[in-house]
Every structure is written in C-alpha cells, then in structure tokens.
Symmetry: C2
Subunit: 339 residues, 2 copies
Amino acid sequence: MSVTIREIAQQAGVSRGTVDRVLNGRSGVKPEIRERILAIADRLQYVPNLAAKALAYNRKPIQIGIVMPPKEISFFDEIRKGIHAAEDELKGLGICLEYVYINNQLADEGARAIQTLIANGASGILFSAIDDEVNRVSIDKAIEQGIPVVTFNSDVENSKRSCFVGQDLGKSGEIAAGLMTRMFTGKAKVLVIVANMKFHAHRMRVQYFKEKLIQSEIEIVDVIEGYDRYDDTFRKLNESLKMYPDLDGIYMATGHAGACIDAVKLAGKGGHLRIVCNDLMPEVEQGLREGLIDFTIMQNPVQQGYRSLRILYDLIFNGKQPDHEFQYTDTSIMIAESL
Amino acid sequence: MSVTIREIAQQAGVSRGTVDRVLNGRSGVKPEIRERILAIADRLQYVPNLAAKALAYNRKPIQIGIVMPPKEISFFDEIRKGIHAAEDELKGLGICLEYVYINNQLADEGARAIQTLIANGASGILFSAIDDEVNRVSIDKAIEQGIPVVTFNSDVENSKRSCFVGQDLGKSGEIAAGLMTRMFTGKAKVLVIVANMKFHAHRMRVQYFKEKLIQSEIEIVDVIEGYDRYDDTFRKLNESLKMYPDLDGIYMATGHAGACIDAVKLAGKGGHLRIVCNDLMPEVEQGLREGLIDFTIMQNPVQQGYRSLRILYDLIFNGKQPDHEFQYTDTSIMIAESL
DNA sequence: CTGAAAGCGCTAACAG
DNA sequence: CTGTTAGCGCTTTCAG
C-alpha cells in the first residue's frame, strides 16, 4: 500500500488538512511546520493518489478551455479525434472541457477567447491560433494568473506557454530531402511549392529541405508560392512545368495538393514526376492511390490532440511539468501501400 | 453533474448495493428488479465514475499479469517502455502489475506463467509468447475462468484472447514492395532475407511482398533463410551476392540486420544496393546512418505496449470490449533523416 | 494559523 | 435476495 496524506499527518503530528495545504502550496501554514511536512513527504516518497484526487475534484471539476479553428477546417478533425481520445480516458477524472472555435488567422479572436475562458473559470488552456503579438501577450497574461497554456499544431513562439505540441518542421523538410535522394540516383531537378513563404512552417520546411540537398546532386530549380489557393497554384505550376520540361520531382511543403495534382495531370506528367507531399488531406490520399504522389510526410495530428490534452492534464492535476518545451509528434512517412 | 448509482437506486426504489450488484453482473438479484434497474440505467445513460471506482478498488487493487520475454531481448525494451507509459497514467487507478519473464520460444513456459498468475489472483493477462497449442489451451482456460487475455506483438491465433495488439504483417510486406517500386524505375532484381519461413510473421511479410510485386518489373531472385544467426546469414548472403552480381536491392523481412550489412560491405556494394529493412535495432539504426539501409519499416513497439495495457484496463475496469480482434499499430516508414 | 468533519461515487462485508 | 454501512484518499468548508 502506498503512502497517504494521513501517514504524513501522523508523523508530523498535524492534521490532514494542514498536510493538504502544504502539499498543494496553499498559504497559511507556519513555515516551520511546512518544512517538516515537506521533509517527511519527501522521505516517504509520497505520491498523491490520482483516483482520490479526481474524486474529490468531482464537486468542482477542473475546466480546460480549448481554442482552435472551426469545424470547417477539416485538418483539425484529426486533432479533435485525438483530443476526444484523451478526453475519453480522462472521463470521470475531474475535468470538463470547453471548446471555443475561432478564426485562427485573426489574431484578436484568439486573445479574446483566452480572456473569456479565464473569466469562465478555466484552469488551463489548449491553444492553436496564429503566431501573433496579441496572442503572445494574452498567453503570457494567463500564465501570470497561474493558468497554464499549451499550444498545439501551430506555436506562439517565445510566449510563456508550458510547451508546444506539434511537428518538428526542420525534420519534416529534411525527410522530404531524404526521400528525394532515395528516388533519384544521380542528378535531378526538383521544384518546391509552398503556400506562402511568410508562413513559419513552410519557410522552415523549405530551409531544411534546401540545406539537406546542398551536398547532393539534386538541384532546386524554383520555389513557388500558391497561397493555398487553387487558381494561383494551378497557374503558377503550369508555367513552371513549361519552363522546366526536364523537371524530375516536386516537393509540396504545403498539405493542399489538389491544384498541383491537376496541373501535373494536365501536363501529362503523372507518374513520371516524383512527388513528395505533406499530411493526408483527401486530395493527397487520392493522389497516393492514383500513383501520382509517391510519399507524404505526416505530422500525426491525432497524436497532437491526444498529447496536448494529456500534458495539460498532468500539469494541472499532478503538477508534472512537460520534460521539454517542444513536444514533437512523430514525423512518419506514408506511401500508397500504407493506406 | 452526471448520473450516479444513487439516483438509479432512488428511481428503482432499491438500495445502492443492489444497483451495484446488477451493474456489475453479480448474481443474487431478483430478475424482475434486475430488469428494472438495467432499464433505468439505460434510460439515464449511466456511466460509472472512473475515479470513484478506482478509489474503491484501492483496497484490493486489480492485478494484471504480464508475460513476455526476458529483459535480454532488447526488442522488448521498447514495448516495455510503452507499458510503463500506460502504467504511469494508470498509477493510482486501482491496478498493480506483475511481470513474468519467460523464454518465449518454449511453449510450456508461457502456459505455466498463465497458471501461476491466475493462482496469484490476476484479473487479466497481457501475453506475448510463441504461437503454440499449449499456449492456446492455457489462454482459453483463462478466458473460461473469466480472466481476459490480450496478446501483443506475437499472436496466439484462434485462441479466445480478447484481441491481439501488434503489426499488420501483410501491410508491412506490401509497404516493403511499395518502397522498392519507388526506388527502381524500371526492371530490377531483389533478394529477400528472412530468419525462418516457419515464422508466421516472416512468411506473411514475404507473401504480401511477392504478391504486390507481381504486376511490377521487379523480380525476386531468391528468398534465403538466415535463422537470425549471424554466421548463417552472413555466409548465405555472401553466396547470393556472388550468384547475382547484378542484384539491385534487398528486402530484409527480419529485424536482425547485422550480418546483412557486413556482407554487403564486404562485397563492396554499400550504397549501390537499395535495402529495405524492418524495425530499429541498433544495427539497423547504424545502417541507416551510414547510408547502407534506405528504409526501415516500423511496427511501433512502444505503441504496442501502451495500447495493450490500456485495452486490458478498459476491458477489466469499464467492461469496454476492444472494437476489433486485431489492433494493428501504425506501420510507419523511417529513413536516416527520421532519426 | 490549524483541526475536525463532511463529502466525492463506488465496492464489499455484514446483517437481516 | 436486499439494505446498511464502513471505507478508498483527498479537498474543502467551518470552527476555533
């Protein structure tokens, strides 16, 4: 049987209430007694009992706020799946979730959501929105009030959030490069497509992709921006395909592949060009099935959702700090046969 | 606030004890009352409170037995890591684990372990040992006594285990084939190495590998068995490399790659031959780093450990049957850049 | 500043 | 066959 609060109380010659106060950092205990209790807890290697704690919290469940893009953004469905999985495991363990859907491109919506959640009594927040000064300030304010924030999928850098759960963008770019080198034995020309080089994620991927290819015989002929708009992407890629008729491969640093696929098909290059992609949106899945896309690099969104909620729970409930500021989810590779 | 056992008792006009009996399938309740309670619970959508249940079980924690190969088999370290991760989350939730290490090639050790565990009062068992009649019988006997068994990593087929958690072997073979087709544009000759075609796992991988390559221009020149012994593998592969000087690639359906790597190096083929491998034993990691191995196909052992314990817990504690008899872990692909 | 006691929802042992 | 009751370990009033 493991050690309880009651044993500590006995050994310290105080009541359980006092021990509770000390162990949970509540004020109002004579420093001398506090020290004594801490020492005993330490010596006995006290570990609070999760079930008991959760049960007691059932009177006033801990509220966790979740700020993320609306349901229409299908990419987040997977993340939500992961959150639900964690929620399922934590059901009846003294928490309740409150979702706030925001337009994650509008900075102040995120900031406002945080404030609302705090006003509603949230004890912790999961946050995914644009990396903007307004959000940074809002997060830091939450932290100062003792409300931990975990960012997921897209980070708000240099904010005081407990940690970020998401993809290792550098690795993602390097893997793309690695895949290219496996497909081409000698010289080759590849094109890179991003949504916008202003996006931190895409910039990072491209940067590491390039760096990794310096020592190789693979030449990057161009980096084009499609702004994740079908028309722009289609038109620009068409031009590029004409401009570089001897192109060997394409790296799509963005997950939106619909227009690319169509352009490649139109040019009659389907199956000839080697294509590496990101994520698993429906178009990408289709592209893999048709043999148009060779590889896609995953950021494991389900894991992102699951881990972020678990981490926040452990933090609030067990006071367990995440072991690293950056919690990277697996960067795995898929091919058609993986589907 | 969610519905409790007490409300059900009130509505049914009985005591909480009776409700508990019914809800937990214990005998000794008049059928008529049982029906009534069940109906009410159903109507109210009763969900038992995990924390309360776990806390009550703290008096007499539920014992879960774990039968697996000894610590010397390093492959299982990863699986154990996953089990520990799950254990960590379930700490204080009313369970205690008991490990039994066995030689998983000796059938009766597994069977005996099951019996010992049951005698010691285990309420559920995680099992990983050779697929043998003795084990099948022993598992089925446990099930008949109401003690659920979950097999992991290597299945005992057609036993009454609740489910198997491990790799989708067919997919693993198909992915290997898919990778080959991505590396070779035209005709190519590849060699397959297994430990033993008597191993179900290796037979399956090879079978699906072959089937997937039928429509391709890739020819499988031979399948050699190395029995996971360094000497045998090294010698046989040496011969093959001489016999097929124009070989293009190798598929190692086994995870033991040390001898293969050495033979390839000796033949001066390092970097020329395209190699696809399984798992991430130290030799494989080294091979990837040196650029000798192109791809390795993972079965996510950590996930295997984690999921099997979680599933068993949910089964025992929440009565939640696994949604499928085969719980496949991700079959992901790694390259050097993934490390 | 500290102690006492009630209660979170469920289980199990003991009466009846 | 069914009701009663004493916990499981922790939090949180309410007194003092």
